[in-house]
């Protein structure tokens, strides 16, 4: 069963089978190509068409119902194929009697015979930006897409070198309208595939054996495996592993992208294009025959396609491409652009260049980042082991990385490569697939946050008394040990916040806080409160008690460890150590400046703010102090041994400008406020006040006048944090001490 169409051919109405029509069209197209540079080519083509029409007419007059494939074939045989012309054509090659010349012209392809002189120029008709790449491709007789991809790599990988080169070439090269002289395109080869046919297509394109591209894709993986086999401690010598795995990753992603981007060579003409075979009449005949066969077996094919669809999701994206029976000419034929004029066009091109640049840079850097995350795996993402536990959390973490982060990157790269290769698919599945994969990633993200968050739900503390020898002379000196415990320093977290250092198995946390309180009896005590979060009270307690924080003593000097290790089996659960030093009345204490090495932060998942630094103080009877200053404990609290008045001593620089937050809780009345210091005026302005009892606060003055009888603050808890001064130890409790001017008396308008 064949479809018959009516065509108006040189003034005659000819009924012709559709397949025959396609063959005829391609034949005439090939003639047109052959005579492209012949003087009076239109006339020649016209004459030939006329003659063909006449022959068809005769056929029909003899009683044929329509023109069939056989008729077209017969006409093509009698008219001759372009490659036959070469042999018979007497005058074409000029003084063709020159044997050697004739020999050489016959040994080359048909296209080259009528080729223009070879000059490097820009293509006027096939361009993305300036036609430079297409020009180079024409000169080198390769696929413009290949040149474009190489150029893009140079441009974005070579730090702008390619961009400069492109602009220079754009300026110096003349514009010509170039014939596409290479009938070779990169396809995926469905007949020669292991996975997606990418390697098969590449081998066909470069005319090499299939195993070569396959090996190239595979080798980096093999190399990536080797170091792992030989060394369990690969992180000692990470270089080659990352390099090879990175390379393997690159090839892997390249493969996936090619798989998505490259069309599958389904029709015979596509397969010819893939192998770069000359599209002449003979091969078109083959094409037609194979296409006929493929029409016959289409139903069957669709069935198997459906199976494939179900099997491979990625396959699905390309399957409609299979059904695409786009003709060769319209597919590769240069999409002639309307040459707009004037400034609008210039701006358009500039905008396009800019956009392509930006998109390319983004895609490139994102790709690199993805590569780093995906394939250096644990080495780059060390926190994973400390945060996640169990299969499901890891599973969701990976799906977040691949789907939520990776998919948009790959989508972007695919989009760009498609732009470069001018593959336009009308099929929306790709977008849907990417979209739904990304949404899956988003869901995974939420699930992961929920799961991890549950592990930070409950806070528990474990107390431990440290047995100490009483320091001589009633003088205690506290220092933080430096570097006695050696951890491998990490490439990724060299800073001291929040992790001192990190390796595969353990990380060193320095969330340690020092409190000084009055001792109940006449001796010094040191108590440790170990805190940890956990999923259940039991697990939190378990985490807390596994904190090891040994304090060593040398005479009156107490060395605190630099931090405490958390192993990957214990996980990171915001473990903290609060060291409480009880100083008896009349005894002295001094804290070394090295205490600055400690940091403190709370993770609180119950609040929407996520990580916040919470200064809430559970030990009400502690006192504020400064490091490197000796204090004596008195009945009223800590006093400086040198008796200097703190107010006078504290210079005005201690009054920080900036925002602060305040929360007060007094007998069930909660006041929450945020404010900002108005520079120079010495007063704060509030933006917001709590809503419990509609407290309105007009102004707050810094408490410069020291009140002899401050409001009894015992029941009141005030927490405040100055953003700029997060590290400083501030006890909101001691308003009466009037230590920091930001602690204030409220004048409420209640």
């Amino acid at each position: 069963m064949k479809k018959v169409i009516n065509i108006n051919f040189q003034g005659r109405v000819i009924p012709i089978e559709e397949t025959a029509y396609e063959a005829l069209k391609q034949y005439i197209e090939s003639l047109r190509r052959y005579f492209a540079h012949e003087e009076g080519r239109d006339e020649i083509i016209n004459d030939i068409e006329n003659r063909i029409a006449e022959l068809f007419d005769e056929k029909l007059k003899k009683g044929a119902v329509c023109i069939t494939d056989e008729d077209v074939n017969a006409v093509m045989v009698s008219m001759g194929r372009p490659e036959d012309f070469e042999e018979q054509d007497a005058t074409y090659a000029g003084s063709a009697t020159d044997y050697a010349k004739a020999e050489s012209s016959q040994s080359t392809t048909a296209q080259q015979v009528y080729e223009e002189p070879r000059r490097l120029s820009r293509a006027a008709n096939d361009k993305v930006l300036g036609g430079v790449c297409a020009g180079i491709a024409h000169y080198m007789k390769i696929d413009p897409a290949v040149v474009r991809i190489i150029f893009a790599l140079i441009a974005f990988g070579g730090f702008g070198f390619g961009v400069v080169l492109y602009i220079i070439l754009w300026i110096i090269l003349p514009v010509r309208s170039l014939q596409t002289n290479v009938r070779k395109r990169l396809y995926r080869d469905p007949d020669n595939k292991l996975i997606g046919g990418v390697a098969g297509g590449l081998s066909a394109y470069f005319n090499i054996d299939t195993w070569i591209p396959r090996l190239i894709f595979l080798l980096p993986f093999l190399f990536g495996m080797l170091p792992n086999l030989f060394s369990g401690f690969w992180w000692h010598w990470r270089g080659p592993w990352v390099a090879f795995s990175g390379l393997g990753g690159t090839f892997f992603v390249t493969y996936i992208i090619l798989w998505i981007v490259l069309p599958k060579a389904v029709t015979a003409s596509e397969k010819l294009e893939m192998r770069g075979e000359k599209i002449d009449l003979e091969s078109i005949k083959n094409t037609v025959q194979e296409e006929l066969q493929s029409v016959k077996s289409r139903g069957e094919k669709l069935g198997t396609e459906f199976k494939e669809k179900a099997k491979v999701v990625g396959e699905e994206m390309k399957d409609t491409l299979k059904q695409r029976t786009q003709s060769f000419a319209s597919e590769v034929g240069p999409a002639a652009r309307k040459t707009g004029t004037g400034i609008g066009n210039a701006i358009g091109i500039l905008f396009k260049a800019f956009f392509l640049c930006i998109a390319g840079i983004i895609a490139f850097s994102l790709l690199i980042a993805l590569m780093a995350i995906l394939y250096s795996g644990v080495a780059v993402f060390p926190l994973k082991n400390f945060l996640l536990e169990g299969f499901w959390q890891n599973f969701f973490a990976w799906s977040v990385i691949t789907l939520f982060i990776g998919v948009p990157i790959i989508a972007l790269v695919v989009w760009i490569v498609r732009r470069i290769m001018r593959v336009r698919s009308k099929n929306p599945y790709l977008g849907y697939t990417f979209g739904s994969l990304w949404i899956l990633g988003l869901i995974s993200l939420f699930v992961l946050i929920g799961m991890v968050g549950r592990n930070f739900r409950i806070k528990t503390s474990v107390n431990e008394d440290v047995t100490i020898t009483q320091p001589a002379n009633g003088n205690m000196f506290i220092k933080v040990m430096d570097g006695k415990v050696r951890y491998y320093s990490s490439d990724w977290f060299d800073g001291d916040f929040p992790f001192l250092s990190l390796n595969e198995d353990s990380m060193l946390l320095n969330t340690v806080r020092l409190k000084i309180v009055k001792s109940e009896d006449s001796i010094y005590h040191i108590k440790l409160v170990k805190l940890s979060l956990g999923n259940t009270p039991a697990s939190a307690e378990n985490n807390a008690s596994s904190i090891s924080f040994p304090i060593t003593q040398q005479d009156s000097v107490f060395y605190f460890p630099k931090g405490f290790p958390v192993s990957s089996t214990n996980k990171f659960r915001n473990q903290q150590v609060m060291a409480i030093v009880e100083v008896p009345v009349g005894k002295k204490i001094m804290v070394d400046g090295s205490i600055d090495r400690y940091d403190w932060f709370d993770i609180n998942f119950n609040r929407r703010r996520g990580w916040n630094i919470d200064w809430k103080d559970r030990w009400d009877n502690s006192y504020s102090w400064e490091d490197n200053v000796q204090y004596t404990m008195t009945d009223n609290g800590l006093e400086r041994t040198d008796k200097k008045d703190r107010n006078k001593n504290t210079d005005s620089k201690k009054i920080k400008n900036g925002k602060f937050k305040l929360k007060a809780d007094d007998n069930g009345v909660e006041i929450e406020a945020e404010g900002e210091l108005e520079d120079g005026k010495g007063s704060y302005r509030y933006k917001k006040s709590g809503d419990n009892e509609k407290v309105e606060i007009d102004t707050v003055k810094p408490a410069t006048p020291v009140s002899p009888n401050p409001p009894k603050p015992a029941q009141r808890k005030i927490t405040a944090a100055e953003n700029k001064n997060a590290k400083e130890e501030i006890a909101g409790k001691n308003i009466s001490e009037d230590f920091h001017p930001p602690f204030l008396f409220l004048t409420t308008g209640r």
């Binding site: 006329n50 042999e87 005058t91």
Partner: protein
């Protein structure tokens, strides 16, 4: 020799030559020979009177000299563009008008020269292949 002429060059042969261009093969030489006389033959047919291109093909076929129509049309166009040929439109029954070609004066002169050359060449070839004329005599180059 005539029989060889009548064999249309086959596509497979062309392909083989592509693969081994260095080897001098028989078809190549034959086609070189054909090329040389093709124009002469066509002009000789046109000289006899106004002619329709497919008639040229038929006539040449009758003489066992096969030519592809696809090469004839370009050749005619080229000769026409060189003012050797002219054509006029002749109404045909049940179809668009057809092009009939005839020689111009210039074409006739051109043909005469070709004819002279051909006669010389044919005589020389004849002499060489059949009588074994001594090459040193210098006859060949005249």
């Amino acid at each position: 020799m005539e029989q060889n002429f009548s064999q249309p060059p086959s596509f497979t042969a062309g392909r083989m030559r592509e693969k081994s261009p260095k080897i001098m093969n028989i078809e190549n030489t034959q086609s070189q020979m054909r090329k040389g006389v093709l124009e002469f033959c066509i002009l000789s047919i046109i000289k006899r009177g106004e002619v329709y291109p497919s008639d040229i093909i038929d006539e040449m076929k009758k003489a066992n000299l096969n030519i592809l129509e696809g090469t004839l049309y370009p050749l005619l166009t080229r000769l026409k563009n060189a003012d050797l040929l002219t054509y006029r439109w002749v109404e045909s029954t049940g179809g668009p008008p057809r092009k009939y070609f005839s020689l111009t004066d210039k074409g006739a002169a051109f043909y005469a020269e070709l004819e002279a050359t051909w006669n010389e060449l044919a005589g020389a070839v004849q002499a060489l292949t059949q009588n074994g004329v001594n090459i040193n005599s210098g006859n060949f180059n005249q």
